[in-house]
Amino acid sequence: MSRYIMRRVLIMIPTLIGVSIILFSVMMIAPGGPEAVLMGEDIAPEAAARIRANLGLDQPAPVQYLRWFSAMLQGDLGNSFRTGEPVLSIIVDRLPNSLTLTLAAFAFALAVSIPFGVLASVKHNSFIDKLMSVVAFLGVSFPSFWLGIVFILIFADQLGWFPVSGMATYGMERDILNRLHHLVLPAVTLGSVQMATYMRFTRSGMLEVLRQDYIRTANAKGLHPRHVVLRHALRNGLISVITVIGLSLPALIGGAVLTETIFAWPGVGRLAVNAVFQRDYPIIMGVNMAVAVVTVTVNLLVDIVYTIIDPRIAYD
């Protein structure tokens, strides 16, 4: 097992390098550059050259990449072009906010989709099954920002049940209830997008398991159906859901860009959007790398969990 994990960890390295090369290339071939944004009214060509040189952008692209890369190995993601702040500390400030939102969204999606998915599979082809799949598709059929604003107008503005936006009331950042209160609407908004996917996988995973011999045997032995489903089928039926979790993570974090904008949530999504608009290359690189690291780590964890839940899988 530990050898398997070692191997998986080693594979992460070339993956992350690949991510960084792709991103770097996109920025290098894009027309225009950050000096344009930075120069303000200093539009003399000489000033442009001077600023490019200051940012190290006058070097050939491979040299720039290697510089960035070797600095990164020492934990230095560079400084923001615009404000001069170290990128690492900017990301460390923000990433937890995004992860909180993503995890909450994820928890919401699972909490809704697993019971419903199991129910749908048990009542296969019944009215409930149909209803469940339509309901699941409702969430995934709205543009998430639209869903967000509708939630705000209904639950925050009209009913006043939740705060409109932000992460916490000023001065109450340490109050866990206040933070949870702020978390509900954005998490539900973001989570709705994944709900249908998880439910579909739960349902089909369960269906497959329920058809298998050992379940039939258990049923034949006269065990209570609830007992059969919960004790025997669920564990195996959920394996396919766990796989999707890893795959859906980047989509969740990507979707957070919109949710964060609507709910004024200070996460890495908005940071990335602003950085893109301002051509703040070090921040763009940093945010994407951070998300990639989170993604590969989660995928690794998923695989490990996978092997624990399903002993049939060998660590080849």
Partner: protein
């Protein structure tokens, strides 16, 4: 005219007189949450260049003078000043005992440092033109552009450039434009009389020399951790979330009433307005016009409508052959229905612009050529310029169709709406407009580099017409604000005269003629002056509306909460 004179509006809008019963000492305490759609970027008055940064810097940094609601200079860090008869020497006596937020005393050296930092070519700033009348400044700036072209032609290396520029900077400092007589006396010597120097140049936050000397002013840590002498001191900045300021107890005019100012960034305007209505935000500048009636209906909110000195325009890149013929520009002006835009997009919260000056300004000339909506006249004028409608209904000349890209910045709803309307209205006379929206930083860059065909954007004026005028229209101001690259010898001459002339009647004459020429030549389609609308919760009292940009925010130090 619906419009009242500035003074009348100010009198009408001074709020809170009824609550004079609340004793002064009871006014202290509480906080205000201000909502903004954009985050600040550089909290340093030397390099600030976006409106969110301006807002914060107003509160953290004091200037020598500030313009009051009648646009008259009032002392802040200055105690008094004297102007010589020929208006080339201005002596400032500074307040004693003013402290920066770190406890160090403010002196004349800080003023000198701030202004020289702005003049320094290495600094990325929009404020250089305000100070180019100081002794030696013009020579310095000329020398820099000379060095730049030498460098461009590869006649000097970048090291040589830096060395020569550095010695030019030393010469500038020695030229006597700024004389620090003692800690509390500073003298400005101007090469030529510059009438608006006081109002344009000195309404500027003063940065602390002791913290910034030797730093790279464009990227110093100070820019995200500012220290000034203002009524509120910086506490924390969580980017894209909020900036927190607290009352400065040792403020030289006395501590402000509010304990705390929280500047919240809420990127979506609809959400921001919802926050305002539900109490998550106490104050918001410039809500979209469509939302104003609804806010006015809310008894908890106080909607303040204030005159403005800012106008929105459509500017042409005059070096582009398409726009070189004045008839084409006039035709475009005729084809755009600005009256309808003011009525239906601004919902009447504003007025059409006939030139760069607002109606309430002394320099305003009401008798200039106007271009009321008249598409037929537009087509005639296009024909006179050689453009005729082809079989596809497009304007064509020598086999080429008239088409251009119209740019504006994203996120400004009024401007976004305006470009779409212009696009449609010009298509009615056969002109093909492609709309391009970009984020503010990208857009500003394209604008200032004159890298566009046409733009919709705005200028925020100053109390003196020179601020609207010279830096935008004088042919020497490109690179700079004259991004349309307008050049007219007569206009140059008139602006030069108007800025050295002290007699207000003569200045009025000069500015009147300038407006006539600009109206005739239409280097811009002058759009509209949109009123400033500020919305605050009714419990906040003491706002003093001023027609200057975000002027009302400057009065935050006088705002208190009514019980």
């Amino acid at each position: 005219m619906r419009r009242l004179a500035l003074l009348a509006v100010v009198l009408l809008l001074v709020v809170g007189s009824a609550s004079a019963v609340q004793a002064d000492e009871d006014r202290y305490g509480g906080q205000i949450i201000i909502g903004s759609i954009a985050d600040a970027s550089l909290l340093n008055p030397i390099v600030e260049n976006d409106s969110a940064s301006y807002d914060i810097n107003y509160w953290v940094f004091d200037s020598l003078i500030r313009l009051d609601e009648t646009l008259t200079p009032q002392p802040v860090l200055a105690e008094s000043w004297e102007i010589s008869d020929d208006a080339t020497e201005i002596v400032f006596h500074l307040k004693e005992g003013v402290l920066f937020h770190d406890g160090v005393e403010f002196t004349a050296a800080d003023v000198e440092f701030t202004i020289f930092s702005i003049l320094d070519y290495k600094t990325i700033t929009t404020k250089r033109p305000y100070f180019d009348s100081l002794l030696g400044a013009k020579e310095y700036l000329d020398r820099i552009s000379e060095l730049d072209s030498l460098y461009e032609d590869e006649e000097i290396s970048s090291d040589e450039h830096a060395d020569m520029a550095e010695s030019a900077f030393e010469e500038l400092k020695a030229a006597g434009g700024i004389e620090v007589v003692d800690d509390y006396t500073i003298v400005f010597n101007l090469a030529t009389p510059f009438a608006p120097f006081l109002t344009v140049a000195l309404d500027l936050g003063i940065a602390p020399k002791h913290l910034l000397e030797g730093e790279d002013i464009n990227a110093t840590e100070f820019n995200s951790n500012p220290i000034g002498t203002g009524p509120f001191q910086f506490v924390e900045w969580r980017r894209a979330d909020r900036i927190v300021l607290e009352a400065f107890d040792d403020y030289h005019e006395g501590r402000p009433y509010l304990d705390r100012v929280i500047y919240r960034v809420i990127p979506d305007q609809t959400v921001l307005v919802t926050e305002l209505r539900s109490g998550g935000v106490d104050y918001m500048p410039q809500p979209p016009p469509e939302m104003i009636p609804r806010l006015e209906d809310d008894p908890n909110l106080n909607v303040m409508q204030i005159d403005t000195v800012a106008y929105t325009y459509m500017g042409f890149q005059l070096t582009n052959p398409l726009f070189q013929d004045v008839k084409v520009r006039q035709a475009i002006s005729y084809a755009i229905d600005m009256e309808a835009i003011v009525e239906f997009i601004l919902l009447g919260y504003g007025q059409e612009a006939t030139g760069p000056f607002p109606e309430a300004m002394w320099a305003y000339n009401p008798d200039v050529r106007r271009f009321s909506f008249n598409p037929d006249r537009a087509i005639e004028l296009m024909a006179e310029a050689g453009w005729t409608l082809n079989d596809d209904g497009k304007m064509e000349k020598d086999g080429e169709e008239f088409a251009f890209t119209l740019e504006t910045n994203q996120g400004n709803e009024l401007r976004e709406q305006m470009v779409v309307i212009i696009q449609e209205q010009l298509s009615e006379i056969g002109i093909d407009v492609t709309v391009s929206l970009s984020e503010w930083p990208t857009f500003v860059d394209r604008l200032l580099a004159a890298n566009y065909e046409a733009v919709v954007v705005g200028w925020t004026g100053t109390a003196d017409p020179d601020g609207y005028g010279y830096t935008v229209w004088h042919s020497s101001q490109f690179p700079g604000r004259n991004t349309s690259q307008y050049a007219n010898d007569r206009v140059d001459y008139l602006f030069e005269q108007a800025r050295v002339e002290m007699d207000i009647d003569k200045r009025t004459e000069y500015y009147h003629e300038i407006q006539e020429i600009l109206a005739e030549e239409q280097p811009y389609v002058f759009g509209y002056f949109a009123d400033q609308i500020h919305v605050a919760h009714a419990r906040y009292q003491g706002w003093v509306p001023t027609p200057q940009r975000e002027g009302i925010m400057l009065t935050l130090k006088n705002v208190w909460i009514e019980d």
